[in-house]
Amino acid sequence: MNVSSELRRDAATYALGYALALVLTGCAFATVFFNLFSKTGQFATVLVLAFIQILVHMRCFLHISLKRSSRADLQLILFSTLIIALMAGGTLIILFNLQARMM
């Protein structure tokens, strides 16, 4: 691959990431600003959009992919995600459960 076509491909990755990030952010803010669904529905929409946006940032800005060459990074991130899910999820479950019992 020659240098200029590689440059074009790299630039396209960043441009795509930026455009997707703006669109997803715009959708999230619009959902809440225009009061589109019920409260729960809005929050669920915002969370789903945030999740997609995190994947976009990982792919386009942080260059994490499923290719073999970046597996180590991917495994590190997935392991950290597991740890985070256990710790943050555990905190939320235990404290909300405690709150429910005290009500």
Binding site: Y18, A21, F29, A50, L62, S69, D73, M87
Partner: protein
């Protein structure tokens, strides 16, 4: 490493083609080490988010998200930070494709300005909140808010100082291997802060502004 399993260019901005294979392996492991740091930082933020989640709505009759959050500042802060990620992307591209040092400095400057704009806006909002009694000790919700968003703001401040240091390093040492690796690390750090901000505007600001 044999020729078959030569490490590829796994990180954009990494211009390894002119480095010997041994050096490439070293660079890859340096960058991987920084990823490990970023993930420990992610754990820190995740636990602050969990804390915020348990404190959500615990306003004890004091300041609450509906009084203190403003749509327009959340939008502009987000726009500034997203755009700064894009300008740092341009730094990485310039680095990878041997652009002149002036371009790299220019894109770094743009990133710095956007980051500083973000931070200025955040500090302005904090001051506004202080002015009408929304201080960290007012209730559980606002304590956790200031710890979480303040921690992100502190990271952005560190990022801004780091950008200045990188400009100095570039001026003194030129674009040698060490400076290149530092620029790659700074890029990972900056993009990572953007990811954290995505969660902050979703979980903190947009949840607070739900009607």
């Amino acid at each position: 490493m044999s020729g078959v399993s030569e490490p590829e260019l796994t990180h954009a901005g990494l211009n390894l083609s002119d480095e010997p294979v041994g050096e490439r392996v070293q660079i890859n492991s340096d960058v991987f080490g920084f990823w490990v740091f970023l993930m420990t930082d992610a754990v820190l933020f995740a636990l602050l988010f969990a804390l915020y989640g348990t404190m959500e709505g615990r306003t004890a009759g004091g300041p609450s998200p509906t009084d203190d959050f403003k749509f327009h500042s959340a939008i502009w802060e987000t726009a500034a930070l997203l755009t700064s990620s894009m300008t740092y992307g341009l730094v990485s591209l310039a680095l990878k494709h041997h652009a002149r040092r002036l371009w790299i400095a220019l894109f770094l400057g743009a990133t710095f300005c956007l980051g500083a704009y973000f931070l200025g806006m955040e500090i302005h909002d904090f001051m506004d909140m202080f002015d009408h009694g929304a201080t960290p000790e007012a209730n559980g919700w606002i304590s956790s808010y200031f710890v979480l968003v303040g921690m992100h703001g502190f990271h952005v401040t560190c990022g801004l100082i780091w950008i200045i240091l990188m400009c100095l390093q570039m001026a003194v040492f030129g674009l040698d291997r060490r400076v290149k690796i530092n620029l790659i690390r700074l890029g990972l750090f900056w993009h990572f802060l953007d990811v954290v901000w995505v969660v902050i505007f979703s979980v903190v600001y947009l949840q607070g502004l739900l009607r």
